[in-house]
Symmetry: C2
Subunit: 327 residues, 2 copies
């Protein structure tokens, strides 16, 4: 049984110190057209501008940098549909470690290409018939390498939480009063990390993880009080958010700190990706756009103060982006 | 004969005070992949994140806000292929003034749509057979409205120059030492404004206006020492940079303060728009990408210190963007 909570604010602060010289302090952006459309002040944490195009670098670097020097030459192994892969590959390169990534054969081409460009070896698997965790564990065991989970790990969660510390600092500098934070949610690493940081700074701020409707395991888990699985057979264009269930470490934190889960449809996500292109002038991938989608669709809960929307990633295949913005 | 210089650093500082409560302080971004590819530290002034998707709001607001209250109800008239139109429309709306824009019938649809969405009336004209300046002047005279030039005006130039003040402040905050500033150049409003600001802060910084090869009037003018015209019949995908010659007010400043003009091909511009999408995760229009294009093509002059690239605008038709990123 894992201890609760798996991370505290001190872990997030430690991660912030470690990441300060290497991570991008991504901007907290604001757009007048979005504010007018939303009928409220919205601030956008643009994590697509992080190294490798998503927040994942934060957690990956915070995890890999904790591996003792003597163990580093054996490298790291991770499984990922893409963003965690790139985050791990970039962190490994910075730390001089070999990285192997087990990736679904149908992952977006841009994510595979970018992972390989960062020096990692990609091992493809069949999402329908093979077990990525088993493949990765076998590889790590054979090599004495460290297995790097994509969300259910205290260092990963604390690393992602550094985005939450920045949100509080930047919102204050920009004269905003944060009422709620809307966060794209797969396994819950980002939401649990940000929740830990934000709730420490101001316990009145409401945290909402946001998921694709067909992968609403966290929303249902928050409602039922136990870790639910996704309903098999569902589909989504949000390839970054297709986790089967909230994590053993992330869920208790979300249960304690979040105000409930939100969900969006693929059409709402497409509208958000298009809006980001046309109005915000930002590239955002489907999974990175789900929190924005709730604001644009009018399904985000009302808030007495300002709304923070996390745009968590920007790694979208050019053909899909083209189809969405011209659609 | 206009006095020289048409603007001084005090005009830019005045504009900065006026714009502070209304303009976006756009971020100065950095990307590790770009630095590695360029072999130097590059900082990107992301003016696509300004109101209306380009730097033009700065100058337009600084010009319109100087119109006395008693004259405001007669409104303003401008001619523009699109970005200046949107800047004027947004500034006019903020100040409660009617705005009429004379726009080429073949301007990008997104620019016309956005201008109308901001409450302006668009009057189309035929780029090949009609004189936009004559049409706009006649409209302004008939209404007693103020004609707002797109670059050759001291308040417009000073407003655009506020981006230069921000560049110096942000570069210092980010520990950069600026060696050169590369700036997309049409009529020279942005380059002359930024040059005025930057050279005041540090006279050793080199300023390079960048143009499409077929619209290299500023580069040739800087070489010859007098205001040259574009060679008729040339084409470019950079619709924002198709001015016929440098301005009477902008050119003397560029002549005094810039280190020479650079040019890029349409193919180099396409590569830069694609790179911005894939790596920087920013939407950039062709005319906004010309300075970045010189860095990616390896044609930017070498620099003993860091390079600033101005990404001046992001209003690109979805179909063109889709064609470029999937090309």
């Amino acid at each position: 049984m894992p201890t609760f909570p798996a991370i505290t604010i001190d872990d997030v602060r430690d991660a912030q110190r470690l990441l300060a010289p290497v991570a991008v302090r991504t901007p907290l952006l604001e757009n007048a057209v979005l504010n007018a459309r939303a009928g409220r002040r919205v601030l956008l944490k643009a994590e697509g501008l992080q190294h490798t195009g998503s927040f994942k670098f934060r957690g990956a670097y915070n995890r890999l940098a904790r591996i003792p020097e003597a163990q580093r030459s054996a490298g790291v192994v991770a499984w990922s549909s893409g963003n965690h892969a790139q985050g791990v590959a970039a962190a490994a390169r910075l730390l001089g470690m070999p990285a192997t990534i087990v990736m679904p054969a149908d992952a977006p081409a841009i994510k595979r290409r970018n992972t390989e460009a960062l020096g990692a070896v990609v091992v493809p698997y069949d999402r329908a018939t093979e077990d990525r965790e088993a493949i990765a564990t076998a590889l790590a065991t054979a090599r004495g390498a460290v297995l790097v989970p994509s969300y259910d790990d205290p260092f990963i969660m604390a690393g992602q939480g550094t985005a939450g510390l920045e949100i509080l600092e930047q919102a204050r500098d920009q004269g905003a009063r944060v009422g709620q934070v809307l966060i794209p949610c797969g396994g819950g690493g980002l939401s649990s990390g940000i929740a830990t940081a934000v709730k420490d700074g101001d316990p009145t701020i409401q945290i909402f993880p946001v998921e694709p409707a067909a992968f609403d395991d966290t929303a249902r888990s928050l409602a039922s009080g136990r870790r639910e699985q996704v309903v098999p057979g569902g589909t989504s264009i949000c390839d970054a958010l297709m986790s089967p269930s909230p994590g053993a470490l992330t869920f208790p934190i979300l249960q304690a700190l979040s105000a409930g889960g939100l969900t969006v449809t693929d059409d709402q996500v497409r509208d958000a990706v298009r809006f980001a292109f046309e109005v915000l002038k930002l590239v955002v991938e489907p999974g990175g756009a789900v929190a924005l989608a709730t604001v644009l669709a009018g399904t985000a809960p009302s808030s007495a103060a300002d709304t923070i929307v996390v745009l968590s990633g920007a790694n979208i295949d050019p053909a899909l982006h083209a189809a969405i913005v011209t659609g």
